[in-house]
């Protein structure tokens, strides 16, 4: 189980945020936190913290397939990650 943080730049269009968030959960990453804000120009910036036994770089490549996703940055695992103390790791997955 690993915590990962991704910075995602999105087009400001209908469905873009839900499309990205839906993909994250569907692909087996649980969403710990998420903030969406206005970025440069008309774009949106999304910062997400995810947990999964699956690698973050695979999620990055899956997000990059989305037409509304303009750029994805995967922060190193050691980066300042906001851990949610209310979420206990699933049994057997905290290795």
């Amino acid at each position: 189980m690993m915590n990962q943080t991704l910075h995602i730049r999105l087009r400001n269009v209908e469905g873009a945020v839900i499309r990205a968030l839906g993909l994250i959960e569907r692909r087996g990453y649980s969403l710990d936190n998420c903030t969406v804000s206005q970025a440069q120009g008309d774009d949106r910036r999304m910062e997400v913290g995810v947990r999964s036994s699956r690698p973050g770089d695979l999620l990055k490549r899956q997000l990059e397939r989305l037409h509304d996703v303009l750029h994805v940055e995967l922060l190193p695992v050691t980066a300042n990650h906001k851990h949610n103390p209310h979420i206990r790791p699933l049994q057997g997955e905290n290795k």
């Binding site: 209908e14 469905g15 839900i18 499309r19 839906g22 993909l23 569907r26 690698p55 695979l58 490549r61 899956q62 990059e64 397939r65 989305l66 037409h67 509304d68």
Partner: protein, 465 residues
């Protein structure tokens, strides 16, 4: 594919209006991209973009949801030219070099040909590559026809219902080059045991497929043609290994001397493709008949075999056949279906009749959802549930009611003439074939088992080269 859906007027969206459904939301997980049109003047740009996205890179479905006030609305529209397809990624020279190095060290190289080869229109280039390198080839379900079925370098389809030769080759190879395929669980069996001693070279247009399921030792994310042209073998493939693959192919060749008095579907399907003339497309539905088509029909081209692979959608066969016939009217199009699958879209018989579309239907009727029944027999001690369809309608009668000619057979002696009748009758026709409801698809790699652990096949032999 671009799908245009009608939506309630914009002002009523989100109010649970009559026939309102959030098709944009419902389809989010299954589209490559989707749009809701909010302004009449956006239509040309959205339509152009939709086609560009649907066709470009790794193709996929795009949906355009069109509220009624937009579709019926008037406004100034500037039509723009269709957008060019996006540039395809080109192979990285370091990756090509790495692939060449790995291949040059191989003593038992093998290729898995996937559906991506046909999608990227690279069949000829792939065949030239095989002619040049002589590497033995297996294929996925969607890769069937990339190599002609009778090509000496082609070993067969691998996986759950693949043949023994392909599964033994893949379990014994030391370098596995996967071309336009994605390590689907039906192809790999138990993933950790799949091609255990092989180094993997993975060629795909989609970066998200690389190391998704099996770590690639070399990844080439690129348009297929230049990648294949860049790969050069220093030495010829070991004749011992090629001989071993050829030996397996002989050892595991399909047998058609099945016991039983009824019609043996695999033999009938073999005879169907033997009887074919130039240009025959076979579409199938999903289930036992689909696996028998994959195993026993021969294909010269991947587009000759239209089958619902990853999604395994029952009901695909008849609409796919209609599409194939409309696209290539000169081809003979045969929809091989089952009694479970045909019922999913049987109303399309009306389409055949209405537009006089000359599709031939070969309906293999075992009065059961056969593949599910097979699993319940083998893995659930014959505890059958909801698989018996012995109250099926009279399918030939149903076809006739729709204005389609139909015949029904159940004796092996009738097969030869019936195939001739089906292929040579003018206009749409159905041949209904009653087969044994207890017939199974063999071999079978049980779920969670390695590919060499095939039921009704002989055990794996280690190869020393």
């Amino acid at each position: 594919m671009v799908v245009i859906t009608g939506q309630v007027p914009s002002a009523l969206q989100g109010t649970d209006a009559f026939q309102e459904v959030d098709i944009f939301g419902i389809t989010l997980p299954i589209v490559k991209h989707s749009y809701i049109v909010r302004n009449v003047r956006d239509i040309p740009q959205i339509v152009n973009e939709a086609f560009q996205l649907a066709e470009g890179g790794r193709p996929g479905p795009v949906l355009i949801d069109l509220p009624k006030d937009i579709s019926a609305g008037m406004g100034e529209v500037v039509y723009t030219a269709p957008l060019p397809l996006p540039e395809m990624p080109q192979p990285d020279s370091h990756a090509i070099q790495a692939a060449n190095e790995v291949l040059s060290q191989a003593t038992r190289p093998l290729i898995i040909a996937g559906g991506g080869i046909a999608i990227s229109d690279s069949v000829e280039i792939f065949r030239k590559f095989i002619a040049r390198t002589k590497i033995p080839v297996t294929s996925t379900l969607k890769g069937l026809g990339v190599m002609p079925t009778d090509d000496p370098n082609f070993i067969g389809m691998l996986g759950m219902h693949g043949n023994g030769a392909a599964n033994h080759a893949v379990q014994n190879c030391d370098v596995l080059m996967v071309v336009g395929a994605r390590f689907d669980d039906r192809a790999t069996g138990h993933l950790a045991s799949f091609a255990q001693s092989a180094r993997i070279i993975h060629l795909d247009i989609d970066a998200a497929e690389i190391s998704k399921l099996r770590k690639a030792d070399v990844a080439i994310v690129s348009e297929l043609a230049p990648a294949l042209e860049g790969i050069q073998l220093r030495d010829e493939v070991s004749t011992t290994w090629c001989g071993q693959c050829a030996g397996w192919k002989k050892e595991f060749a399909w047998r058609y001397d099945a016991p039983g008095e009824g019609i043996y579907a695999p033999r009938l399907l073999r005879d169907l493709t033997r009887a074919k003339t130039e240009g025959m497309t076979i579409t199938c539905d999903v289930g036992q008949h689909q696996m028998w088509v994959a195993q026993h029909c021969s294909f010269d081209n991947p587009l000759d075999h239209l089958s619902s692979g990853g999604l395994g959608t029952m009901g695909y066969g008849l609409p796919a056949a209609i599409g194939a016939k409309v696209a290539k009217p000169q081809n003979t199009v045969v929809c091989v279906s089952g009694d479970g699958s045909i019922m999913m879209n049987i109303q399309e018989l009306a389409t055949l009749n209405r537009y006089k579309i000359d599709v031939k239907i070969l309906l293999l009727d075992n009065s059961a959802l056969g593949l599910v029944r097979q699993w319940q027999e083998i893995f659930f001690d014959g505890n059958y549930s909801e698989v018996h369809l012995d109250d099926n309608p009279d399918f030939a009668g149903v076809a006739r009611a729709f204005g389609i000619q139909a015949r029904s057979i159940r004796q092996p002696e009738a097969v030869h003439d019936a195939i001739h009748w089906l292929l040579n009758t003018e206009g749409a026709a159905m041949l209904h074939v009653a087969i044994d409801s207890m017939e199974n698809v063999w071999p079978l790699v049980p779920p969670g088992k390695a590919n060499h652990m095939m039921m009704k096949s002989v055990p794996l032999k280690e190869v020393k080269t």
